[in-house]
């Protein structure tokens, strides 16, 4: 629903970078790999946390 706070595997705080990643790589047209390198998310366990995430708050909120 919301982006996980930490990487499941190594425990690095990844949520810190979510909004910038979303803005630059999802809404913008930058290469996600370059954005992640730029943000300093360099292990593949942490990268998959951001790459594979979908925000579901907008989908769920009408059913409250």
């Amino acid at each position: 629903m919301m982006v996980p706070v930490r990487c499941f595997t190594c425990g690095t705080v990844v949520a810190e970078h979510w909004e910038e990643f979303e803005e630059r790589a999802r809404e913008g047209d930058e290469d996600p790999a370059e954005v992640l390198d730029d943000l300093g998310v360099d292990r593949f366990c942490c990268r998959r946390m951001l790459v594979s995430h979908t925000d579901l708050v907008d989908v769920v909120s009408p059913y409250q």
Binding site: T12, V13, A15, W18, D55, V57, S61
Partner: protein, 250 residues
């Protein structure tokens, strides 16, 4: 262990560092690693009282998210071991509640290490108001109390040039990772793309582990700086060794 210690920083930033330690056994190196991961207490939110939560997530889910936010951690001596810190959060939608919205009762000592962690996105008329208590605990009890993340070590590797490669032999890439030592000079392998043929083109080289020299790669979650993590880890080993000595004395 009577041999001489030598500790040297290879790379160093606030939250990440490479540290070369000479003159320790593999067992002790692993002891330090394990102490950094599991035995250095950090502060993390442990109990949350929800006053109002009309967001799309359950109280328990938000409790977990709040717990995982790293908090800056003073030494237990500075603070007193059983002390708790109260943090409160009050955000009204439409807005996103961030870790930076947590208001600490000890703002100078304890505050969220990262301010941009989204806790929950709130829509119109939704509200999150909660009070949380942060306590000290060890990484072995819960990952939220783990100060060091992805801590590991490798042998320091010594590279010696044996001579030139035969003229017509095709060069194959030779990948090493970590830190190499060349004539006493320490070079992180990232400087030459982790490939020895980039650094020594046309040369025949041998790579060997330097006995009892370990390069630690240490990263923290922001609770404290790298030096602080390493010294507290070593102190915790020291304390436990002293405790053992006392316990077995006649």
């Amino acid at each position: 262990m009577a041999s001489d210690y030598d500790v040297e920083f290879v790379e160093r930033t606030e939250r990440e560092a490479r540290i070369l330690v000479r003159g320790i056994t593999p067992a002790f190196a692993n002891g330090i690693r394990r102490a950094m991961v599991a035995d250095v207490p950090t502060l993390a939110i442990d109990t949350v009282r929800f006053i109002e939560n009309s967001s799309v997530m359950f109280d328990e889910q938000l409790g977990l998210r709040l717990g995982l936010v790293p908090l800056t951690t003073p030494t237990p001596e500075e603070f007193g071991d059983d002390d708790v810190v109260t943090l409160s959060i009050d955000v009204e939608g439409p807005a996103t509640a961030y870790s930076g919205d947590l208001v600490s009762s000890e703002p100078d000592l304890v505050k969220p290490a990262d301010e941009n962690v989204p806790i929950i996105q709130l829509k119109d008329d939704q509200r999150l108001e909660a009070e949380a208590e942060a306590v000290y605990d060890h990484g072995k009890n819960h990952a939220k109390h783990q100060g060091g993340v992805a801590v590991g070590y490798r042998h320091l590797q010594r590279v010696t040039v044996d001579g030139d490669l035969p003229e017509f032999e095709e060069e194959e890439s030779q990948i090493v990772r970590g830190v190499i030592e060349d004539d006493g000079e320490l070079i992180p392998t990232s400087e030459f793309g982790h490939d020895l043929t980039e650094r020594y083109p046309g040369k025949d080289v041998t790579v060997e582990d330097v006995p009892n020299a370990f390069v630690f790669h240490v990263e923290t979650d922001g609770s404290f700086a790298v030096e602080e993590l390493v010294t507290r880890a070593v102190d915790s080993i020291d304390d436990r060794a002293a405790e053992l000595e006392d316990a077995v004395q006649l």
